[in-house]
């Protein structure tokens, strides 16, 4: 299960954050997911990693560009990020987040600062910063189904049982 609504303090990052900078290529060859959390954002600013648990990650445009590595979405999910909000996403990263059960919301620049309390609702499609509400582009029914199941593994498990 993934919660499609929630709230938490913002961690803000810039535009065009690529998946190499989320988790570097040198850490990808393992089945141990803990490695991805251990090295998340290592080349950007390792201090960010300590703030991720329970946070809402607020990124600039083109979030998650570059490599298709799903480990980038896994790293953020397993580090405890509740949701990722950005004005635009690189499409593979967007899909990967949904597939690992990490809510993504596409929303114009909400002018966020680190620590601002951010609430979100993927079903109705909104984000709130310090009480101010912004509407977001709704996800497709299938994306919501996958997300609600907790990711593609659970989604397929349920379908195969049926």
């Amino acid at each position: 299960m993934t919660l499609l609504t929630g709230s938490g303090p913002a961690v803000c990052i810039g535009d065009d954050i690529d998946t190499d900078i989320i988790i570097a290529g040198r850490y990808l060859r393992t089945k141990d997911r803990r490695v991805f959390v251990e090295h998340v954002f290592e080349d950007l600013n390792p201090a960010i990693a300590k703030c991720l648990n329970g946070s809402v990650l607020v990124a600039g445009k083109n979030m998650g560009c570059g490599s298709s590595r799903e480990q980038a979405a896994v790293a953020l999910h397993d580090a405890g990020v509740l949701a990722v909000i950005a004005p635009s996403f690189a499409r593979i990263f967007f899909r990967n987040c949904i597939n690992v059960g990490l809510p993504v919301l596409e929303c114009k620049d909400i002018g966020c600062r680190d620590g601002d309390i951010i609430s979100y609702d993927c079903i109705t499609g909104w984000v709130e910063r310090e009480g101010k509400r912004f509407t977001t582009d709704p996800l497709s029914p299938k994306m919501n189904d996958i997300l609600q199941a907790g990711g593609l593994v659970e989604y397929w498990k349920r379908r195969l049982v049926r």
Partner: protein, 404 residues
């Protein structure tokens, strides 16, 4: 009327569609992650093993025992499940797939972002992550949103020693790193029929660097001739008065040699602004520019001369390496002082075989110069093989139009 994406996917732009996948492939890294997810799903079997391939290219050969062990696990799985398997040294997944596997009109999905390369053959080809690939293993299908399309109109002819890579870097700069996000790019115009398949592959390869879902060329005589080498007979795709969201015009004779400067692919400078910049290493290869034609152009410039900096050349596939051997290209490159790596991705993803050290400057024919990607604390400039070749001879960035 309809864009090529709409025609292949059989639905209008903006529509969500569940589409059967004609061809799906993983590399060594994404393949292992896909297998982990497939095992967790616990499906009774693969939906369509004949359409699935695994190609060892990213860390090939393995760099240490841990990687080797993981690769052994995936290799055994591929054998047991009768997946198409391409061993180390066969080449980069995207290049291998051009060898008669990805065909015009097909839906081709790869667990690698540069899968858009295969749009050069008129396929709808795009990259996904490991879970989506596991979903294809389980069901044979994927959900896709039919993209809006951008038209890039090519006219005129390139100057000597200006390459398709220069055109690719120029259009990515024109669009920006997110200029084509969620969209497809179709290459059209009077000059498309003159773009060789290797150039089409370079142009489509970099579509993802502008955020695009894929880049596409309509299949034509050149596509037919290319695929005929692999005993594939294909039909031409005829543009159906497509409706583009935006159109960009590129006059090829205006294109100059350029480099993308650290650390953004969409930030380019004309070669004249960089001339004389000292470099520590040159890398020629990747799914952007490791094909036979790229190696041959490099050798043409280097023949009988000697490189001044260490120069790593990695052919895109065994086939490209074989052709380069048969035609004396490898001999010219080795005589000039180049180091030849086994076909595959080489140092491109920053895991092995020529990553740079802190403070070093590299010149590369790859597609990404992200911070730290090919070496922590290093800087990378991206360019064409001709620019890389002449620069290697001087140990500094030089204009390829100076080459004799």
């Amino acid at each position: 009327m309809a864009t090529l994406s709409e025609t292949i996917l059989g639905a209008r732009e903006g529509t969500y569609t569940d589409r059967r996948v004609d061809r799906a492939f993983c590399c060594d890294g994404s393949g292992l992650q896909t297998k982990v997810i497939y095992d967790r799903i616990g499906a009774p079997g693969l939906a369509s093993p004949g359409s699935l391939s695994i190609i060892y290219d990213h860390i090939a050969p393995a760099n240490n025992s841990e990687t080797a062990g993981l690769q052994a696990e995936l290799r055994a799985f591929a054998k047991d499940e009768k997946l198409g398997f391409f061993e180390i040294g066969e080449g980069i997944c995207h290049q291998v797939m051009t060898h008669g596997y990805a065909l015009p009109g097909e839906v081709v999905i790869g667990a690698d972002s540069h899968t858009c390369t295969l749009g050069a053959l008129g396929a709808f080809a795009t990259g996904v992550g490991a879970s989506d690939m596991a979903g294809i293993w389980v069901s044979g299908e994927i959900w896709l949103k039919v993209p809006e399309s951008i038209g890039i109109n090519l006219s005129g002819t390139l100057q000597d020693n200006v390459e398709w890579k220069d055109v690719a870097l120029t259009y990515v700069s024109l669009l920006g790193m997110d200029g084509a996000t969620y969209k497809a790019i179709e290459f059209i115009g009077d000059s498309v029929q003159n773009v060789p398949v290797e150039g089409r592959l370079t142009l489509c390869n970099m579509a993802v660097e502008a955020g695009a879902k894929t880049g596409l060329f309509y299949s034509d005589k050149k596509t037919r001739e290319y695929l005929a080498q692999f005993n594939k007979t294909v039909k031409d795709q005829i543009p159906l008065d497509p409706d583009y969201k935006n159109e960009y015009d590129i006059e090829l004779s205006d294109i100059e040699p350029v480099c993308a400067v650290p650390h953004r692919v969409d930030t380019i400078k004309p070669i004249n602004d960089l001339s004389g910049l000292s470099i520590d290493q040159v890398f020629i290869g990747t799914c952007t520019n490791g094909r036979y034609e790229d190696l041959a152009r490099t050798a043409g410039i280097m023949k009988g001369r000697r490189v001044k900096v260490r120069t790593v050349v990695v052919p895109a596939s065994r086939r490209d390496l074989m052709k380069a051997l048969e035609n004396g290209v490898i001999s010219d490159l080795v005589s000039a002082g180049c180091t030849i790596g086994p076909p595959g991705c080489g140092p491109c993803l920053g895991a092995h075989m020529g990553v740079l050290g802190e403070g070093e400057v590299g010149l590369s024919t790859a597609n990404r110069n992200f911070k730290n990607r090919m070496g922590i604390g290093a800087s990378y400039y991206l360019c064409s093989p001709s620019t890389a070749a002449i620069s290697a001879l001087y140990g500094e960035i030089r204009d390829p139009r100076e080459a004799e």
